[in-house]
Structures are given as C-alpha cells and as structure tokens.
Amino acid sequence: MHVPDGFFNAPTSVATGAVAAVGVGVALRKARAELDDRTAPMAGLVAAFIFAGQMINFPVGAGTSGHLLGGALAAVLVGPWTGALCISVVLLVQALFMADGGLTALGTNITLMALVGGFVGYGVFRLVLLVLPRKVTSVPVAAAVGALVSVPAAATAFTLLFALGGTADVATGKVLAAMVGWHVVIGIGEAIVTGLVVSAVLTSRPDLVRGARGLASNRAPLITKETSA
C-alpha cells in the first residue's frame, strides 16, 4: 500500500507529513516506557523482520497481490508505540533506499501504515482479548483479528485522503469499494502471517511478546507445550 509521489496534492502531503511527525514524536516519547535492555534488540529485530516480510507479495487473485503491512504484528510483539516506530523505520528505509513509496509521500505512508494500521490493529487486538478466554493461546487469535481489520482500515484512511486531496478526479465511492474490497482479502493474508508469527514467538519466548503480558506465565516458559482441549 505504498503511496507513490503524485497521488495527493501538496497540501494533503504536507498535512499527512505533519500528522506523521506528531505521531512519531509522541511515539518516541511513549516508546521509552516500552523499551529496556531486553526488549530494545527485539524491537530492532521486529523492524528488520517486517522489512523482509513486506518483500513477499502473495497473490490474492485477478492479477493482484498483497503483502504484510505489519502494524498489528509489531504492536502486539513490542507494544503499540514501539511498533509504530518499527513500521516508520521500515517505511523510511524503503523510501530512502528502495524507491518504494514516494519521498514526498513518506508522511502519508507513515500515517496510513504505521499510525492507522498499527493503532487500529492494536485496538482491535485489545478488544478481542477482552472477549476471549484469559489464556496465552488467545493472543495469536486476537492478533490475527487485529491484523485482519488493520488492512482495510488503512485502505479506508487512504480513500478518505484521496477524497480530500487526490489529484485525480475519480468518484470516491468507486475507490472506497475497490480499496476496501481488495484489502479485506489482503487482510486475510495479514491475519495468517501475524497469527503464525505471534504464535511462533510465544512458543519459544513468551516473555518477548508484550501483548501477552499478564497472560504468559512469567516463571514457566514450558507452558506453551500445553494444548488445552
């Protein structure tokens, strides 16, 4: 979902740049409480892993593909503020070195994928956790649902921006239907990857999954061997 240069007019790009700057600024302050000697390297790894994951486009039919956005995944693993910074770093590297996502659209891309994708994904994850049984095995399921919703949420935010400051004159309804429709399908891929990765980390190091705190036993990492019927 990397927006290239030119899709949005200058005022919109400046506005999303400002939103991104404020969001990243707040995240830089709040992330300190989420990070310590043990979680900081994990957060660096999460960013690197999501960069890699974003390179794997999977086909979703009709000649279209999708790839992991990673906002929900990062938020569940290392916390929402650090997670937003992870995605922002990935987008920065992509824009600066890979020509993926326009430089003038970096603010837009951070707003859509790091902020909207990340926080919607994390919010849904938290809500779903409230409903599910208080067990470690609920965490990957909740993460997957958060991931599923995060992708069409980012697509909806894109359409909103497009209606406000898109340079092309295309009916908003048409863009909305196509964007949300395709990104629900891509969201299913996002949900599968997110659920699998969270569950893999939970199996080997449950203490490194921030979203599982209070659920993952802090003295017996072996708990993951249990599969409650």
Partner: protein, 120 residues
C-alpha cells in the same frame, strides 16, 4: 525468569535475523510480481497515471529492490533485500537502544519480574 535468559535471548535474536535475511535474500525472488492492492485499484479506477513519472530520487543503487550493476535477477534482488534488512536493523536497533537506555530504568521499579540484564 531463568538465569539462562540472556543467552537464550541472543540465540533468539540470531535465529530471527537469519530468518529475516533468508526471507528477504532468497524468498523474495519467489514473491508475486503482480501489482499490489493499491496499484491495482489505482489502475482499475483510473488514477494510476497520477503517480509521478519521475519521482524524487535519492540516487540509491537499490531502487525497486534491485542492485545496480548486478544483472542476475536473483542475486540483484537478494542483495537489495539483505541490505534492506541490515539497514532496517541498524537504524531501528540503534534508535531503540538509545530510547531503551533513557527510559528503561524507571520501569524496573514496578516491573513484576526484574530483568535479567544485570547478568551482562
């Protein structure tokens, strides 16, 4: 937390990084080359041509996940992927290291499980 926490963490990080490098360096060659959701919708609904023909270039030799001067497609994409993972790790890791050092100490007080970092 067990006393082996520190070493296990290191092992976990190394394995995680190897997986990321494999995915970006090797797996990416097998990724779908179809346009992604946004590009497809832009083409279908008719605003793809508003994308800048000549976007602002940073002069990076890894533009579009290829490596300038490397003709072999598999190698070209693989190198770009590995470089991207390492750059992300470097920038992200550096940033989080700095943030963690400045903010971590207050958290230790009410943390239910004191971190084993002291074993360093």
């Amino acid at each position: 937390m067990s006393a082996t926490g520190t070493t296990t963490s290191r092992r976990f990080l190394v394995i995680g990084l190897l997986v990321a490098l494999l995915v970006a360096g090797v797996g990416s060659f097998y990724a779908s080359s179809h346009p992604d959701g946004l590009e497809y919708v832009a083409g279908r609904t008719g605003f793809l041509d508003t994308a800048e023909e000549d976007p602002v270039s940073t002069g990076s030799p890894f533009a579009d996940y290829g490596t300038e001067g490397v003709d072999n497609e598999r190698l070209s994409g693989g190198i770009a992927g590995v470089v991207g993972v390492l750059l992300t790790l470097l920038i992200g890791g550096g940033l989080f290291h700095v943030l963690g050092r400045r903010g971590g100490s207050e958290e230790y007080v009410d943390s239910p499980e004191p971190p084993v970092a002291a074993r360093d």
